[in-house]
Amino acid sequence: MANIELRGVEKKFGDVFAVKPLDLTIKDGEFIVLLGPSGCGKTTTLRMISGLEAVTVGQILLDGRDVTWLHPSERDIAFVFQFFALYSHMSARDNIAFPLQAAGMARHEVKERVAQVAALLRIDHILDRKPGALSGGDQQRVALARALVRRPAAFLMDEPLGALDAEFRETMRAEIKKLHLAQHATTVYVTHDQIEAMAMGDRIVIMSAAVVQQVGTPTEVYHNPANLFVARFIGSPGMNLVKAKVEPDGARLPGGGLAPISDRWRRALEGSGLEDGSVVLGFRPEAVQVHDGGALRAGVYADDLHGGYTMLHLELADGEIIHGRAARDAMNALGSAVRFDLDPDMMRFFNPETEMAILS
């Protein structure tokens, strides 16, 4: 197992940046998720680590060894592809044995290793079938087995669950996570699904437009997004973002309501040098506390019952829609007026010019 270090790695296709200079250190045994919308450079980054894509500038180190210009086969890493890339002319067994044969391993040892990994993934019974005769989940397991069997220094996975049905995705997500916990192998996992990223990653690297927006644990990126992009991208729905004005008594929301600010934030906002107090106020749906004595007003635009809770869509006086979480049994007629407060500890502020978070 190994740590991976990217030093000033960038990739250009012609004049277009696929990945702007990127520094990242992945610790031994860490599960890192590269998250972002399609075309943000996450897959290119993964492919550069694997060696399938050459870097334009920069260095890639695997356990301190410079592998920047090594062929993929010389890097001792395994890659799981989105569409599995199982060889359709070979049985599952031969697919799994394929990487071992490259290393010229003795036949009985290959057999033993394949049996071990097949038992681990519970695919012993399908080893003699061709990939075409397997279900999506089993194809995925075979692909994982092929990656695991070599005991590589690191695993790279490119949207490995993307080709599976929603129902299966949950199962396989749990399986991959369990495998990771058992093997404790350094893993770099690419996905565009933020729920998957939150569920699986030790740390998440959020990318957009070829640039890393934030690196942090799931909790960090959820509660303390570094900028507006991350605030919108993480969470379902994303963070509520409204234009507000900081006043001595609190933050004035569009349409009039005044939300009190904690002292900590007041000091931070004073020190941030904002002109005329204009900020973007951000808060998660769970920061919304609907009750009759609330200081803020809104109209109920829609409400969705989610089983465990109700998601209220509230319309502020200026027509802006925010999302708030309410109790499961909360009954609010559409169009009715409600009052709410915002949990002061869960409020976040962003500079409207730079779109960056104001730090407290």
């Binding site: 062929h71 060889y87 359709s88 490259a102």
Partner: protein, 331 residues
């Protein structure tokens, strides 16, 4: 008796279980099969006629009305495979007394001829086999390599190059026979196996590059990438992954290349005379003395047809299997 409990509620149009298929669907598929068989039979009539003529005697071959039932004879094959000498009446009388004649000599004797030796045809057939076989191996071999390169690497001027390659195919071969004839005579390639292999390889290559590029484009890059990450070099990945995946394309290209060089007539007529002469220009020359030897021509055509039939038959599985059962799912 059909199992009613397991029968589907709606009529099934296609199933491997006969008891589940509706009568209408069964009739339709029978009619379709019958039409296919009839069309196939109509297509086969000329070939069958040729095969029959090959086994007819000279009078039978030209009989009016044509004979469908006849006594088979090897006269055609004897005329095709031997060179003969016309005997005088005296000699015929002597020959008829001899007891040491083989069956072929006896057939020749019916027509008052004596066999003097083998004809050139077997060697010409062998030439055809060598030249078309080797040129097919070369054009498919080079074709698959360059098709792979065009498919996977950023070749500078790729589109122009590909068009240039294709444009070779737009040239009618007959136009260049005379220049090539003159050049070949100059460099000593005239009437050589190497010369013909070179020529046919060149002509087939453009076609095979294009055909194979289509097939290789279909193979997902992830296949090779997976192999490369798993510890194989690109060349190993090519051999162990790309080639097996491209079998269908390679088989199709092989058959097309083989048929082209096997059938090629104009160049063979101009550029070969003796040592490297192939079968196509020789078959019409088996004209015999005093009348066209239809049986011999048919026998020659039959012998000429068989190798292609064998190759196509051997590769039929790959030719029919359009797409492989891929494990790569297009999301």
């Amino acid at each position: 008796m059909a199992n009613v409990a397991n029968a589907p509620r709606q009529k099934v149009v296609i199933s491997t279980r006969v008891d589940k298929v509706s009568t209408g669907a069964r009739v339709t598929s029978s009619v379709r099969a019958a039409i296919a068989v009839i069309v196939a039979l109509i297509m086969l009539i000329p070939v069958a006629w040729m095969a029959m003529t090959a086994f007819k005697t000279r009078p039978d071959a030209v009989a009016v009305p044509p004979k469908v039932f006849f006594e088979p004879s090897f006269e055609g094959f004897v005329s095709l495979l031997t060179s003969r000498r016309q005997l005088t009446n005296d000699e015929i009388a002597v020959y008829q007394q001899r007891t040491d004649l083989g069956w072929a000599d006896q057939i020749a004797l019916i027509r008052g001829q004596a066999i003097t030796g083998p004809s050139a045809f077997p060697r010409q057939l062998l030439n055809s086999l060598i030249i078309s076989g080797v040129s097919t191996v070369f054009s498919v071999g080079f074709g698959v390599l360059s098709a792979y390169a065009f498919s996977r690497f950023p070749v500078p001027g790729k589109d122009d190059l590909l068009f240039f390659i294709l444009s070779q195919r737009m040239l009618p071969p007959v136009v260049v026979t005379i220049p090539i004839f003159l050049m070949y005579r100059q460099v000593g390639l005239h009437d050589t196996h190497i010369g013909m292999v070179l020529l046919y390889t060149a002509f087939n290559l453009s076609f095979s590059v294009w055909l194979l590029k289509g097939f290789i484009d279909e193979i997902p890059r992830e296949y090779e990438e997976a192999a490369m990450v798993d510890g194989y070099t690109r060349l190993q990945a090519f051999r162990r992954i790309v080639l097996p995946q491209a079998t269908t394309g390679i088989a199709a290209t092989t058959v097309f290349s083989l048929i082209f060089s096997w059938n090629e007539y104009a160049f063979a007529l101009m550029l070969t005379s003796d040592a490297a002469r192939t079968a196509p220009p020789s078959i019409p020359l088996v004209l015999g003395t005093g009348g066209i030897e239809w049986a011999a021509i048919a026998a020659g055509s039959l012998a000429f047809l068989i190798p292609v039939v064998i190759i196509t038959f051997l590769l039929r599985k790959h030719l029919l299997r359009g797409v492989t059962f891929g494990a790569i799912r297009k999301g």
